[in-house]
């Protein structure tokens, strides 16, 4: 674990520094929005990583219920935490970007609302993990994760319909609204960098979880041998 930390800490710092350098210095200033647009290079990749993590959590939870392997539960726990963190970054950078550019902090359109709700569901997943008693935590959390993930498409469609009924301002285009090559390059590079960053965090957190489990096991084995 120590070796892993020794490698990963400088590596993550490097990745963060590199992505920031690319976003802040290398990428050209966007014509309409100006420098504020640079948040885009943090915002979208964070969202991508969060979504990736939540998908991993869903798959790990299903696998856990089927196999009961501690490793899959550790992956589920780790991915939920990392996902919530990147999700928080997404939800904070969003309004920061929206306000100067479009004049409003937030709007209840399909995409934003779905994102917020998904994030809330995973926060409550973490709360559940924290407060469940003992050995049942993993099973209960895995069951809950399945509910949460199943809800996401329903949320998206319900709000999209709601918005056709009650139109409201829509914020932002997104990466598919045609990016000029230099912007596209920085964006894709950052996307990759953030993904690597996210996966490093996930692996570290996973290892931590497995170590905690190993510690519990060791104590338990000692208890087995010990006491006369």
């Amino acid at each position: 674990m120590k070796k892993l930390a020794l490698i990963s800490i400088p590596l993550t710092l490097f990745l963060l520094a590199l992505s920031s350098y690319l976003a802040l210095a290398v990428a050209p200033t966007e014509s309409t929005m100006g420098d504020v647009q640079r948040i885009f290079y943090y915002h979208v990749p964070s969202g991508w990583v969060a979504g990736l993590c939540f998908t991993i959590n869903f798959l790990a939870s299903i696998y856990y219920l089927w196999s009961r392997s501690p490793a899959s539960d550790a992956v589920a726990a780790a991915s939920a935490e990392v996902g919530v963190v990147f999700g928080a970054v997404l939800l904070i950078t969003g309004p920061l970007w929206a306000r100067p550019v479009w004049g409003i902090w937030w709007t209840w359109d399909a995409r934003l609302t779905t994102t917020l709700i998904l994030w809330l569901i995973y926060v409550s997943y973490l709360v559940l993990r924290r407060f469940a008693a003992g050995g049942q935590t993993q099973v209960l959390a895995a069951a809950f994760a399945i509910f949460g993930f199943a809800d996401v498409p329903i949320v998206y469609f319900s709000i999209r319909w709601f918005r056709t009924q009650h139109p409201a301002p829509v914020i932002g285009g997104g990466p598919d609204s045609g990016l000029a090559p230099p912007i596209l390059h920085v964006f894709l590079t950052n996307l990759a960098l953030f993904t690597v960053l996210g996966m490093i965090y996930l692996v570290l957190r996973y290892k931590l979880q497995m170590q905690e489990q190993a510690l519990e096991s060791a104590h338990a084995q000692a208890a087995l041998k010990g006491v006369a």
Binding site: L65, I117, L120, I121, S124, V127, L128, F131, A132, A133, G135, Q136, V139, L140, A143, F144, I146, F147, G148, A150, D151, I154, V155, F157, S158, I159, W161, F162, Q165
Partner: protein
């Protein structure tokens, strides 16, 4: 042992126990009344405006009342650890779940039947759209809340802060259903839009989550 037989006998037992103790019923009735009154003070619209916001208010009120009721459901099974007796028997886990969910459903519907007329009176509500649609929305929406609520209540009794745990995990997942109920109700009351999409959405929601609950309940029941 047939699934429906056990569901029926469990439901009958629960109803009988509820009738005898009348704890939950009385406090829930009073709570519902209070909620309606307080909302009427807090939101005091004209008759015209009221049609636009009544849908939202009513469903929020129903949601709070439902959560208090849901927390009680499993409490009865924990007393004397009587749930163990069910678990060691050959009776299927899903029968227990269905019995509890149906019981909760009936209970919340009764609360709604009491609260809705009060809302009508306090807000001078008159529906422009057809009332039968309101009933369909209410039934689908209530089941949506209750099916997940019963499942999560079973989850949360095994946690340390069980009373607050239930709303924490229930609300985010119920948002699409709530949105559907509120908007459909408002559409019908104001007559400004068709609630058909929402009815479809609620039906999908009900089917999806009832299936998920039935698939996972046995796992949750036996987590010890």
């Amino acid at each position: 042992m047939s699934t429906f037989g056990v569901t029926r006998s469990t439901l009958a037992k629960d109803l009988r126990m509820e009738w005898r103790s009348k704890d939950a019923i009385n406090s829930m009735l009073f709570f519902s009344l209070l909620v309606v009154v307080i909302f009427s003070f807090a939101f005091n619209p004209t008759a015209e405006e009221s049609r636009h916001i009544a849908g939202g208010l009513m469903w929020v009120a129903f949601l709070f009342a439902a959560v208090v009721a849901l927390n009680q459901t499993w409490a009865r099974e924990l007393r004397n650890q009587v749930l163990d007796a069910y678990r060691v028997s050959p009776a299927p886990a899903n029968s227990l779940f269905l019995a509890k969910a149906i019981g909760n459903f009936l209970f919340v519907v009764i609360l709604e039947c009491l609260m809705a007329p009060l809302f009508v009176v306090f807000y001078e509500l008159r529906s422009i759209g057809p009332v039968w649609q309101l009933i369909v929305v209410a039934l689908l929406g209530t089941w949506a809340l209750v099916v997940n609520g019963t499942f999560f209540a079973a989850l949360s009794i095994r946690t340390r802060n069980r009373e607050i745990m239930l709303p924490l995990i229930l609300f985010p997942i119920s948002i699409p259903a709530l949105l559907g109920m509120v908007d459909a109700t408002t559409s019908i009351l104001t007559g400004e839009a068709s609630p058909v999409f929402w009815i479809k959405l609620l039906t999908v929601y009900d089917i999806v989550f009832t299936s998920v609950c039935l698939l996972l309940f046995e796992v949750v029941l036996n987590a010890e």
